[in-house]
């Protein structure tokens, strides 16, 4: 049974998370796909595009009124694959590309072994951590899986709403209200995998899907670095960096095994931070596609870039907002560096290169707004306006994300906090990398050649990306944004990893070139030793972080008790009865709602105590009173108004107040869970 379940799970992953994207690439590029993309790129991009394509397909399915079932999902994916294949068959070879293109990244045997070893180490460390964290207990993942299960059970797209406790002149009652926090893309892929494979939501499958997205996200950084620093796209002289492929391998090293567990890596996987993990894949993937579309003046790549970045808005609002800022800062830095050079050449050499710059901008504009891309943008607009508007655009989410910081957690991180968020050695090396990249981008020597404005594009992508995230994290009020700075900080490691890998490889070549050059009186052996010590610091710092997270062994027996108690109640409650549980002392309590499937807020939950004291966000107090002081008059009114009869608590902390009250019967007793019934 387990073997069949496994086979179905992996088959569903291929059907949902690989084939749609691969066939889409075939439809767009025809046979040229193998010339345009390296096999590794093809693999990574297919995965990202599949996520987006399947999300859109299921939304269309839901909006047409066809029930979302195993059959309908299979049929619509089958239809999509067939359509793409027909396009592929009829495709004229319009997009001729240089055959040499694919040869630029032919890794040597040694490099290939190194890449495989780094990937092995990355997966190994994450697996070691997830071994104890794969059991479904995390609150966020429990919340997300409720919606995914709702889609699977009802066959409809979910209405994001929940029961809320409302107070009216001292009386309490339950009322449905909309939720703006959830985005449909965070759930549909999980529903599809569940429907196709039959894998249970309370199992390994949600975490493994997130783990897979996380690994592909690392590969996305790898292929982006590969392209940005390719000899064709970047202006570093051969004497400085002999083999630019090593930069992408360094990026893989700094992104993979180093800090493999800390946020936003394996901890986000086990924590079920779905939107963020998908954003961490789609942001570098979109940047990769935009970069190549502009560098290679390829309209089809631009269409894919628009598809990837547009699709991101259906997965995660924070990632999308961050992407917009990254994009703006890339444009700003590119324009600034270009204009600076134009001004420099005008003053020093009395030459005007403004027309070259203006021609380039016109060219970029034409690629972005080609006929096919205008049609595509129109289709996206119709989809957003008339088919499915992301839930956060319907509510106040946009207004709460923009404006002066409303909480201390939104006023920006301190430099010390920022240092820990990025990782100390990655930040230090990254700053050196940014300095070097800025020198390269702003050096006027590069602009004497023709078409050299295009050469600024590569450093502009990294520098713009870094500046955008640094400002958003450290000084959010400069950009008039009001989002938790700690959450933005999770995105900052990515551009720093790329610039740090550039610095690391540059330093390595620099030291190698010192031998016999006579630049310094210090022996090259001492400098070499210094370099190795620095590299050791980078590794030990990252692995120290990993070891801290690996030290604790988690016991899931209390979570199993929670599932047992949920099963007991599910068989015994009727539609009129409400249940309340405690979130502070019960493990995996967020997963209880998956047993009941009655409402997102079923059972009601006593949240973290600090939430009831938050002056910036006053909230209902019933859930606190009903468990903390069930005999009080306020709690009695809450019980009566909400129709709550069952109370699920941890006896170690909350049993006494119920035992003293004659209104409650103790009806269920486990080691970590007791259930009381208000008769």
């Amino acid at each position: 049974m387990f073997i069949i379940e496994q086979i179905l799970f992996y088959l569903s992953l291929i059907i949902i998370l690989f084939l749609p994207g691969y066939f889409l690439l075939l439809a767009i590029f025809g046979k040229d796909v193998r010339k345009i993309f390296l096999p590794l790129e093809n693999f990574t991009i297919s995965f990202g595009l599949s996520l987006i394509a399947v999300n859109f397909l299921i939304i269309i399915l839901g909006k047409t009124g066809i029930p979302i079932t195993t059959l309908s999902i299979s049929a619509i994916i089958g239809f999509f694959l067939t359509t793409c294949y027909l396009f592929y068959k009829n495709k004229n070879k319009k997009n001729k590309v240089d055959r040499q293109e694919s040869i630029f990244a032919d890794f040597s045997k040694k490099q290939s072994i190194l890449i495989i070893l780094i990937i092995f180490l990355t997966v190994f460390i994450k697996t070691a951590y997830l071994k104890d964290a794969i059991f479904p207990t995390s609150t966020d993942l429990g919340h997300h899986m409720y919606w995914a299960k709702l889609v699977s059970e009802t066959g409809n797209l979910p209405d994001y709403e929940k029961l809320e406790i409302i107070e009216d002149e001292g009386n309490y009652f339950l009322e449905k209200s909309d939720i703006a926090d959830f985005i449909i893309g965070e759930h549909l892929v999980f529903s599809a995998i569940n429907l196709l494979s039959g894998a249970d939501f309370i199992s390994y499958f949600p975490t493994l899907v997130l783990f897979l997205i996380d690994i592909i996200g690392i590969l996305a950084i790898f292929i982006l670095t590969l392209r940005i620093f390719s000899r064709k796209n970047f202006i570093t002289p051969k004497s400085l960096i002999k083999n630019p492929l090593n930069i992408s391998i360094a990026a893989l090293l700094l992104m993979g095994p180093i800090y493999a567990i800390s946020s936003p890596q394996a901890k986000f996987v086990s924590g079920g931070v779905v939107g963020n993990i998908i954003g961490n894949l789609l942001i570098p993937l979109s940047l990769y596609l935009f970069f190549r579309a502009l560098k290679e003046e390829n309209k089809n790549l631009m269409t894919l870039a628009l598809f990837a970045s547009g699709g991101m808005f259906y997965f995660h609002h924070l990632s999308s907002l961050i992407f917009i800022f990254i994009f703006i800062f890339i444009i700003l830095f590119f324009t600034f560096a270009s204009l600076l050079d134009i001004a420099f050449l005008r003053i020093k050499e009395n030459k005007s290169r403004f027309s070259d710059f203006s021609d380039l901008m016109k060219k970029y504009f034409k690629i972005a707004f080609s006929a096919q891309n205008i049609v595509f943008l129109a289709a996206i607009s119709i989809f957003v306006l008339f088919i499915h508007t992301p839930s956060y655009l319907n509510f106040d989410a946009t207004s709460t994300a923009v404006g002066a910081p409303s909480k201390s957690t939104r006023t920006g991180l301190t430099p010390a906090q920022f240092k820990y968020a990025v990782g100390e050695p990655r930040l230090a090396l990254g700053l050196i990398g940014i300095f070097l990249l800025s020198l390269i981008a702003l050096s006027h020597k590069n602009f004497k050649k023709k078409n050299t404005f295009e050469k600024i594009l590569a450093p502009a992508f990294i520098i713009g990306w870094t500046i955008a995230l640094s400002v958003m994290t450290l000084k959010p009020h400069w950009l008039y944004i009001n989002i938790p700075s700690g959450r933005v900080a999770n995105y900052t490691s990515f551009p720093f990893v790329i610039s740090a890998s550039f610095a690391l490889v540059w330093l390595a070549y620099f030291i190698k070139n010192l031998k016999g050059s006579g630049y310094f009186s210090v022996s090259s052996k001492i400098i070499l030793l210094f370099f190795f010590l620095m590299t050791l610091t980078v590794f030990s710092s990252g692995h120290y972080d990993n070891s801290q997270s690996l030290s604790g062994r988690i016991d899931n027996q209390s979570a199993l008790e929670t599932f047992h108690a949920s099963g007991y109640l599910t068989e015994r409650i009727d539609s009129e009865i409400m249940t309340i549980k405690d979130h502070n002392y019960i493990k995996a309590d967020a997963w209880m709602k998956l047993s009941f499937m009655r409402d997102y807020s079923y059972p009601l939950s006593r949240g973290f105590f600090k939430r009831y004291e938050d002056p910036t966000k006053p909230r209902e107090m019933c859930t606190l009173w009903m468990i903390e002081s069930p005999s009080s008059e306020k709690a009695q009114r809450c019980y009566a108004g909400t129709g709550t009869r069952f109370v699920v608590i941890n006896p170690e902390f909350d049993s006494i107040q119920f035992e003293k009250n004659d209104d409650f019967w103790k009806i269920y007793s486990g080691k970590h869970i007791e259930i009381f019934y208000r008769h």
Binding site: P39, I116, F120, K126, L130, K131, I134, L212, L560, Y668
Partner: protein, 115 residues
């Protein structure tokens, strides 16, 4: 491009091995170890019938019915691991506080109804 394909195949093999390992690890964690539960079969009415579920190696349990602090009935039962026993209580005496106490090794649990 041969090396690219080797990298992809190796990556897939590494990921597949990891996933298999994690799936098995997670599957094993779904077993309740060394625990037991005591609960009323019907929590909402005045029935005192109850169930003991055993997930421990020790199969010896004892239970007692206590009414208003007075022990009315006591019994020893054996419940195998991963099994449960439904105990029917009929003909209740007069009283207000009906309690079921169960002992298992050094551990004791109770459930009650206040009629």
């Amino acid at each position: 491009m041969k090396n690219h394909k080797i990298i992809i195949v190796s990556t897939l093999a590494i990921v597949l091995t990891s996933f298999l390992f994690l799936s098995i690890a997670e599957n094993r964690q779904h077993r309740i170890k060394n625990g037991w539960f005591l609960y009323f079969e019907n929590p909402k009415n005045d029935s005192m019938s109850f169930v003991i579920e055993n997930y421990s190696d020790d199969k010896d349990f004892s239970w007692s019915l206590i009414v208003d602090g007075k022990k009315i009935k006591m019994e020893n039962i054996k419940i195998l691991k991963n099994d449960s026993k439904n105990v029917m209580i009929q003909g209740l005496p007069e009283g207000n506080f009906f309690e079921i106490k169960a002992d298992h090794g050094k551990e004791e649990k109770n459930i009650y109804k206040k009629l």
